[in-house]
C-alpha cells in the first residue's frame, strides 16, 4: 500500500506539493507514482529562474519503459532544483516525499495551493486506480 502523506497536497497526475514556511512550494511525485513507474533512471529538471504556468510541463521523469511529464502544480518561478537526482535518480524511488523532491517554486499566488487535492481525495483517487 503506497504512502499518502498528510502534510502535502496532490495533483490528479500524482505530483505532491508542500507549502514551506518561507512561502515557497516544493514539488515531487507521490509514492504511488514512483511505484507505478518502477525504477526511475533519469530526471530532467528545469533551469532555475524559469517561470511556469499552472498545468504546464515542468520536468520529466523516466523509467526504463516509460517517461512521464511533471506538471507545475501552481504558477510560479523555479528557485531551486534537486540536482542530486541527476546522479542518483533512484532517490525518487527510495524517498519520494523527502530526498526525492524535484523542484522548489515561488508561487505567484500561495493560496492557489488550496485548490489542489487533499490527502483524502488523493487516497480515494489511488484506490480507484488500483481497483
Amino acid at each position: 500500500m503506497a504512502e499518502v502523506r498528510d502534510d502535502v497536497r496532490y495533483l490528479a497526475t500524482h505530483e505532491w506539493v508542500k507549502l514551506e514556511a518561507d512561502g515557497s512550494v516544493v514539488v515531487g511525485i507521490s509514492d504511488h507514482a514512483q511505484d507505478a513507474l518502477g525504477d526511475v533512471v533519469f530526471v530532467e529538471l528545469p533551469e532555475i529562474g524559469t517561470s511556469f504556468v499552472q498545468g504546464s510541463e515542468m520536468a520529466v521523469v523516466e523509467s526504463v519503459k516509460a517517461a512521464s511529464d511533471i506538471y507545475a502544480p501552481v504558477s510560479g518561478v523555479v528557485v531551486a532544483c534537486n540536482s542530486a537526482l541527476e546522479d542518483a535518480p533512484e532517490t525518487v524511488n527510495d524517498s519520494p516525499y523527502d530526498a526525492g523532491w524535484f523542484v522548489r517554486l515561488t508561487p505567484d499566488d500561495p493560496s492557489s495551493i488550496e485548490s489542489l487535492l487533499s490527502p483524502d481525495a488523493y487516497q480515494a483517487l489511488c484506490d480507484d486506480e488500483t481497483h
Binding site: F42, E44, V64, A66, A67, D69
Partner: protein, 456 residues
C-alpha cells in the same frame, strides 16, 4: 503458389477448423463495395530464372567501366568477407533487437559499431545509425536546437560548401518545426568558409561545418569551432569517415571540439548501389546523449552478472514517448551497420589510413596530370582530401556526356547546382584507381575537351 506452403488439403483443414468454407469468407467484415479485383496493370508472375535474366539485362545496360564520380558516394574496395558475413541469415533475417536475449549478436555488434564511430570522430557516444548522411544532419539540427541551452534559437548557420542535397533535405525536414537555415557563402578563391563569420553566429543554435567540404577542400575547422563556441552556438561536423583516418577528428577541433558529428557511412564497405541503402552515423558529447534520436545500445549485465547488451534510453523514442519523442525514426540501418563494422574491423587503423592516403595521393596525381591540359586548372586553392573541382575550358556537362558514352564517369558537372560553375567538374579518386586509370582519364578528358571545342 510462390512462397506459400499450404497444400489444398491443409487449406481446407484450416478453413474447417475456423468454421468457414472459403478464404473469401474471412473478409466478411470488409464492405462488399470495397472489395477490389485484380488491377490490370499488374503483370503475371514469372519464374526466378526469368527474373534473373531480365534483371541481368537491365543491370548490364547501366554498367560503366571506370568512374571518378564521388560527390557524397565513393567507390572503395569492399573486402570479400564484409558481405559474405553480413548476408548470413542470422544477421540478414533478424528483427530489430527488442527481445535482447534473442538478439545478443546484433546488439553486441551495434555496441562495437558505436565504439568504432565514437573513436573515429573522437566524440563520446554514437547512436546505432539513421537512414543516411543527409537525414543524420537534419536530425542533428533538431537535436542542437533541443540541446543548446545558451542560445535558445531555431536559427542554424550552414556552411555554403556543404553538399547542396544535404541542405535541401534539411530544409524539407526541419522547416516544418520552424527552424531557419542561414547559409554562409564560401570564399571565391579557396571554396572554404571565411573565419570572420562571428556576426552570423551570434544567437544561432548551431553552426554546420563540412569536412571535407563538397568541393573536396578542408575548411579551417579549428577557427570555425572556436568562433562558434564563443558565440554560444553548437558545432555540428559533417564528416567523411574515411578521411578521419588521416584528418583531425571533430572531437579535437578547436579548443573544445565539435559537439555533434554526423556523416554518410557508405564509404565503410557499402556499395554505391544507386544511392542506398546506406547509413547515417551520428555522435555527440555525452552531455547531449538524451537529445540524440535513434536506437542506442548499452552494455549491462544479466541476472547471473555476465555482460550483455540491450537497447537503452528508449524513453526518448517514439514507441514510448509518442508525440514527445526526439524523432519519429523507428529503426536503424541494421544491416549496413553490420557491413560497416566488419569493414572497420578488417581494415583497422592502419588499413583505413592507407585507403585515405592512397585516395589523397591519387587526387593530387590526377589534378597535376589534368593541369597539363590546356585550359584545365584547379578551381579552388588549398589542400583537399580525395576530391577536387577542375575548371574546364568547356561546359562540364558536355564532357560528362561524351565520356559517359565511352564508359567513363569523369565526375559531377556542377552547373546544374551552381549556374556560374557550368565549366566546373567535381572529380574524385579513391584507392581503387591505378596510375593507369588516372592516365586513361586524363587522355579521355583531353580528347573530350578537344572534341567539344572543335564543334563550337
Amino acid at each position: 503458389m510462390p512462397f506459400i506452403p499450404h497444400t489444398d488439403a491443409e487449406r481446407d483443414e484450416m478453413l474447417e477448423a475456423i468454421g468457414v468454407t472459403t478464404i473469401d469468407a474471412l473478409f466478411d467484415e470488409v464492405p462488399m463495395s470495397l472489395r477490389a479485383s485484380l488491377p490490370p496493370e499488374m503483370p503475371e508472375g514469372i519464374s526466378e530464372m526469368a527474373l534473373m535474366q531480365l534483371m541481368q539485362r537491365r543491370a548490364k545496360q547501366d554498367e560503366m567501366s571506370l568512374s571518378f564520380l564521388g560527390a557524397g558516394a565513393y567507390e572503395h574496395h569492399i573486402p570479400a568477407a564484409v558481405w559474405d558475413l553480413t548476408n548470413r541469415g542470422e544477421f540478414l533475417t533478424a528483427y530489430t533487437p527488442y527481445q535482447a536475449e534473442a538478439s545478443q549478436g546484433t546488439l553486441q555488434l551495434i555496441y562495437e559499431f558505436q565504439t568504432m564511430i565514437a573513436r573515429l570522430t573522437a566524440l563520446d557516444v554514437a547512436n546505432a545509425s539513421v537512414y543516411d548522411g543527409a537525414t543524420a544532419l537534419a536530425e542533428a539540427m533538431l537535436m542542437a536546437v533541443r540541446a543548446n541551452k545558451t542560445n535558445k534559437s531555431k536559427r542554424i548557420v550552414v556552411a555554403g560548401n556543404l553538399n547542396p542535397h544535404y541542405i535541401a533535405v534539411c530544409e524539407a525536414i526541419v522547416s516544418n518545426q520552424g527552424l531557419v537555415l542561414e547559409v554562409l557563402e564560401p570564399d571565391e578563391q579557396t571554396g572554404t568558409i571565411p573565419t570572420d563569420c562571428a556576426p552570423q553566429l551570434s544567437e544561432a543554435a548551431a553552426l554546420v561545418v563540412s569536412y571535407p567540404n563538397f568541393f573536396g577542400g578542408l575548411d579551417p575547422v579549428d577557427a570555425l569551432t572556436d568562433a562558434a563556441a564563443a558565440a554560444g552556438a553548437l558545432v555540428i561536423g559533417v564528416v567523411n569517415p574515411t578521411a578521419l583516418a588521416l584528418l583531425k577528428p571533430p572531437g579535437q577541433w578547436g579548443a573544445s571540439g565539435a559537439d555533434i558529428a554526423v556523416g554518410e557511412g557508405q564509404p565503410l564497405g557499402i556499395p554505391l548501389a544507386s544511392g542506398g541503402p546506406y547509413l547515417g552515423f551520428m555522435c555527440c558529447r555525452k552531455a547531449y546523449v538524451r537529445q540524440m534520436p535513434g536506437r542506442i545500445i548499452g552494455r549491462t549485465v544479466d541476472q547471473t552478472g555476465q555482460p550483455g547488451y540491450a537497447l537503452t534510453l528508449q524513453a526518448r523514442e517514439q514507441h514510448i514517448r509518442r508525440g514527445k519523442a526526439t524523432s519519429n525514426i523507428c529503426t536503424n540501418q541494421g544491416l549496413l551497420v553490420t557491413a560497416a563494422t566488419l569493414y572497420l574491423s578488417l581494415l583497422g587503423d592502419e588499413g583505413l589510413r592507407q585507403v585515405a592516403l592512397k585516395s589523397h595521393a591519387g587526387i593530387n596525381q590526377l589534378v597535376a596530370a589534368a593541369g597539363q591540359i590546356e585550359g584545365v586548372s584547379r578551381r579552388f586553392s588549398g589542400p583537399v582530401f580525395h576530391e577536387q573541382v577542375l575548371q574546364l575550358p568547356v561546359p562540364a556537362a558536355d564532357v560528362v556526356n561524351l565520356m559517359a558514352n565511352e564508359g567513363i564517369l569523369p565526375g559531377l558537372a556542377l552547373g546544374a547546382l551552381w549556374a556560374p560553375m557550368a565549366n566546373c567538374l567535381l572529380v574524385n579518386v579513391t584507392e581503387t584507381k591505378t596510375s593507369d586509370d588516372i592516365d586513361h582519364f586524363v587522355t579521355h578528358l583531353a580528347n573530350a575537351i578537344e572534341a567539344i571545342k572543335s564543334t563550337c
